[in-house]
């Protein structure tokens, strides 16, 4: 144990007569693969923050007038922004996959008449719906639908 948790973490509501050592965390907490994934998950927030800022900037430029809007739109074709868009896409997919991973049934109920679908089927359903929704949105944006 080398790291320290919050000194009041899991502290009893009233201090007992016995002196206790403060709560600790493993010094290598950040090194565990699943923690690294969690940190990466948190880091995607930075990407979304930037994407949101760009969106607000675009709305602001739209309010300024047609010229400002056109200039803002043309700036989106800059290679740096295209690369950032790709990073945003990767972030969205990563967060989606991580969230869907949490939806997989961890334990089969041993009772009850309703059968729980196998994890593979649930996975196929989730990703199928996700892919279908993405396709529909892309078709709408491309003007094929509606």
């Amino acid at each position: 144990m080398a790291g320290t948790a919050h000194p009041e973490a899991m502290a009893p509501p009233q201090k007992g007569p016995t002196r206790t050592a403060p709560p600790q965390m493993p010094g290598t907490w950040w090194g565990a693969p699943r923690i690294r994934t969690y940190l990466l998950f948190g880091a995607t927030g930075i990407v979304y923050f930037i994407a949101g800022t760009v969106f607000l900037h675009l709305v602001w430029q739209l309010g300024k007038g047609p010229e400002a809007w056109e200039t803002a739109l043309s700036s989106l074709s800059h290679p740096a922004y295209i690369a950032f868009n790709a990073l945003t896409l990767v972030s969205v997919i990563f967060v989606g996959v991580r969230a869907f991973g949490g939806m997989m049934p961890k334990m089969q109920p041993r009772t009850g008449p309703i059968p729980v679908l196998p994890a593979g089927t649930v996975k196929a359903l989730i990703y199928g719906v996700w892919s279908l929704m993405t396709l529909v949105i892309c078709l709408i944006l491309a003007g094929v639908l509606f």
Binding site: E8, P12, G16, T20, M25, G27, R34, I35, Y38, M107
Partner: protein, 255 residues
């Protein structure tokens, strides 16, 4: 009888509140058997090498939830963790995120207090406490297998506290009620015999409860009983929001 197969280097956290300012590490080299669990190694140290070592254990079959400890930095039930999974040396520490009482024993009073906040028992509405129609001929509440199946997974929690030890929110936010308590509260919300969901959902909407969860999913990763507390927490989030939305548009019962 199996013969001693090899030696293992064991690092154990020691803390004597009467003598030590901070926990320290004590090292032991012990003979181990190939079929030993980590708990067997700790018991060997306690019985044969150093009787002053303090640790909790009871059932030895992953049911009582007493022997949770950090094994090489991971929260584990030591009676369920094979020594064969580790080679050469092993590091055993008390559960992370809990005050340490002595050696490998942690103070769980904080958990018990949080646990009580979610009222982990069946609540019946007062006006229906005498409703005999809900009872069957044996005087108990009937429950179909499907109704049982709705919450059974979350009732498998043995309160081993590994989830608290793994949770980064517990480590940093003392008010957080924590995965096991929420999972148990949610378990009763799903129970067809219970009528206290509204009361619990009010607790869940409070500070330091379900919405403090940052979906690290650590609790479900380390849960030795596959309870999936992360699923319970996130289902409880949805339940608390739906209950809140219903409260905006529907009149309260009995109001």
């Amino acid at each position: 009888m199996t013969e001693a197969a090899e030696m293992m280097h064991v690092e154990v956290t020691r803390f004597d509140p009467d003598q030590d300012e901070v926990p320290k590490v004590q090292e032991y080299d012990i003979p181990i058997q190939s079929d030993w669990k980590v708990l067997d190694a700790i018991n060997y140290i306690k019985d044969e090498v150093d009787s002053s070592l303090s640790h909790r254990w009871s059932c030895r079959m992953a049911v009582c939830g007493s022997c949770g400890m950090m094994v090489n930095g991971e929260p584990k039930l030591t009676c369920k963790t094979s020594l064969a999974d580790y080679s050469g040396s092993i590091k055993i520490e008390p559960l992370a995120n809990f005050p340490i009482v002595r050696d490998l024993v942690v103070d769980i009073d904080g958990f018990m207090d949080k646990f009580r906040q979610v009222k982990p028992w069946i609540l019946r509405a007062k006006e229906r406490a005498e409703d005999m129609e809900a009872l069957n001929e044996k005087g108990t509440f009937s429950q179909s297998p499907a109704e049982l199946g709705a919450f059974k997974q979350f009732s498998m929690c043995i309160n081993c506290l590994l989830c608290y030890s793994a949770c980064p929110v517990v480590a940093n936010e003392p008010e957080f009620i924590g995965p096991a308590a929420i999972a148990l509260g949610h378990r009763y919300n799903l129970d067809s015999r219970d009528e206290g969901a509204r009361e619990r959902n009010e607790t869940f909407r409070g500070e330091g409860t379900v919405f403090s969860c940052s979906f690290a999913n650590e609790c479900s990763q380390v849960c030795p009983k596959n309870v999936d507390p992360a699923a319970a927490v996130n289902q409880a989030k949805l339940g608390a929001v739906i209950d809140w939305a219903k409260g905006l548009v529907l009149p309260r019962e009995g109001a």
